[in-house]
């Protein structure tokens, strides 16, 4: 009896989570003329791949923007985070803990509270409407979380290792390169996944700071789906394209994804 109830509940929950996906795929594979509201759940006959080609053509520049944006901002974030975490964990100075706490506060602010000065600033330095502006913003507002993850990770590395390297004559960067960096892989993966997902999925900065030619895919998708005239096969195919990279990360690196998620829950 209990088991029947358990599996019944899990079945219903699975439906709740997967039915939207089923509908998206269905709609994306339907001929535009056959998409009517009362037959939404019917399987497409015949299967129509054209929507993906059209959506890909329409979205390709935005998709490329997203790739460049997410990869470069993630790489820079990881570098900054590793160095900051290394300093805070292995070279603390007077007041460094206070500075770290002040830094962490940056994770919690709602970005609406800095959006207007940020907009002015990015305009003033001539980066408004460029990918560079967006990369800069993502790296800067990523500093707190990436520093936190690396600091926590590096704190686990025994100080004796650092001390031994120092006695052998290694300096600040020498220790970083030969001792710390080779041990950094797990933290690097977590930070890379976390930042990549966040930046790929981000919308508020993107919609505020870009022009059409520098838009990432989230902005393009929101605008396409918001228009009334378009048939739904395109937004659905577009949604699949926009979701694919982060979904692939989730499927293939799920374990690290979860670890990043839980690290992120220390934040907000």
């Amino acid at each position: 009896m209990g088991r029947v109830f358990l599996y019944g509940f899990l079945f219903l929950a699975t439906l709740f989570f997967l039915l939207p996906v089923y509908l998206v795929i269905l709609t994306a594979l339907k001929e535009p003329a056959k998409i009517t509201l009362d037959t939404v759940w019917r399987w497409p006959e015949p299967i129509y791949w054209e929507s993906f080609r059209i959506a890909w053509e329409a979205f390709r520049p935005k998709f490329q923007n997203s790739v460049v944006l997410a990869l470069s901002a993630t790489a820079l974030s990881a570098l900054v985070g590793a160095l900051n975490g290394y300093v805070l964990a292995k070279w603390p100075f007077k007041g460094s803990n206070l500075l770290f706490a002040l830094m962490l506060f940056g994770m919690f602010i709602p970005y609406q509270s800095i959006l207007i000065p940020l907009f002015q600033f990015v305009k003033a330095i001539g980066l408004y409407g460029t990918l560079w502006g967006l990369i800069l913003v993502h790296v800067v507002y990523g500093i707190p979380i990436v520093t936190l993850i690396f600091k926590n990770y590096y704190s686990e590395i025994p100080d004796e290792l650092v001390e031994a390297a120092r006695i052998d004559g290694a300096g600040f960067f020498g220790i970083f390169r030969h001792v710390i960096l080779p041990l950094s892989a797990p933290a690097l993966v977590v930070v890379a996944i976390w930042q990549f997902t966040q930046i790929w999925n981000e919308f508020l900065f993107a919609v505020t700071l870009t022009r059409p030619e520098s838009q990432p895919i989230t902005v393009a998708l929101a605008q396409l789906a918001g228009g009334e005239a378009v048939k739904w096969n395109l937004p659905m195919a577009g949604a699949i394209l926009a979701a694919l990279p982060t979904l692939l990360v989730y499927i293939f690196l799920g374990r690290y994804f979860l670890r990043g998620l839980l690290a992120g829950s220390v934040k907000g």
Binding site: L6, S113, I114, N201, A239, T246, S265
Partner: protein, 369 residues
Amino acid sequence: MRDRITAFLVLLPSLVAVGIFVYGFIGQNLWVSLTDWGKNPAQALALRPELRFVGLENYRELFSGLVDVRFRQSAVNLIFFTLFFMAGSLGLGLLLAMALDRGPKGESFFRTVFLFPMALSFVVTGTIWRWLLQPQGGVNVLPTLLGLPPLSFPWLTTREKAFVFDWNDLPFFTAIVVGLILLYLGWQAHREGEKRRRLWSLLSGGVLLLWAFTLGRNTPLLPYPEPHGFSLALVGVILAAVWQMSGYTMALYLAGLRGIPVEVLEAAKVDGASEWQTYRHVIFPLLAPITLSAMIVLGHIALKIFDLIFAMAGLDYAPTDVPAIYMYLLAFRGNQFAKGAAIGILLLLLVAVVVIPYLASQLRKEVRR
């Protein structure tokens, strides 16, 4: 010594960046919110606008000005959205975690399914659910697959409201809610034997309640009644948000459940506790800290929610408005920068009220360790 200087220099750029982009910008935003930037359209778009200091005028207008009725509805929407979104995500997440904790077959499959929406952006989720919630399609025709009549709920388009109250009663209700919370804190302090905290909590809670019931109803914010309530068009948005985030609470709760030592559960069994009693008296109390963390994270997401509503209903649709949307609309569509900045500061204050005590208690715990 040279290495120490190097270390500091390596950290310096990040410190400067955070100093400018977080603290500097908050300061500047606060200043903008105290000016009239955007009142005069000619000034709003000027390259170097002349800003005049107007004190708290923008804040006063948001809460009790004639034109900003939409902000007030958005604030009410935000409260209800936060409540239902948190309740939904926590409830469903807990149920899912409890189900998976019993070790059903295919557990990792279920976990993957429940968690995958977390990998999507709110824009993708919003686009998908906008299509699912079409008035004559999607969810509404689902029952016809089983031979039932279709539903007819106008998900995102209804203008109906529930829990309607007069905006003028806001001080009254706020005082009651805050007063009750203070009394509760006082009672907790009493149980923990902290006398000073008990005194202050009970005293301030009592004064607040006294004020509410004596003067609280006689301080109208507006010269006329203005009804606001929970806009039912948000139900669909809440559904989508719960769909995306309940996997996250599930992951948290599952980790919590798996972390409960077997001996504790054995002990409860030996003492003859029924399954429900074990949950009620052993498991749920142990999950309380997780619930608190999840509430902070979810509340934080709720306060900032922007992309989901943008993708589901657009910027211009008042019934699904929240302050983050209205802020964007005012500042970046209407060039009313000062008022937009004021909303930004209000959101920051809301977050700070929740996050700073939480951070402080976390830090204190760290120190105690």
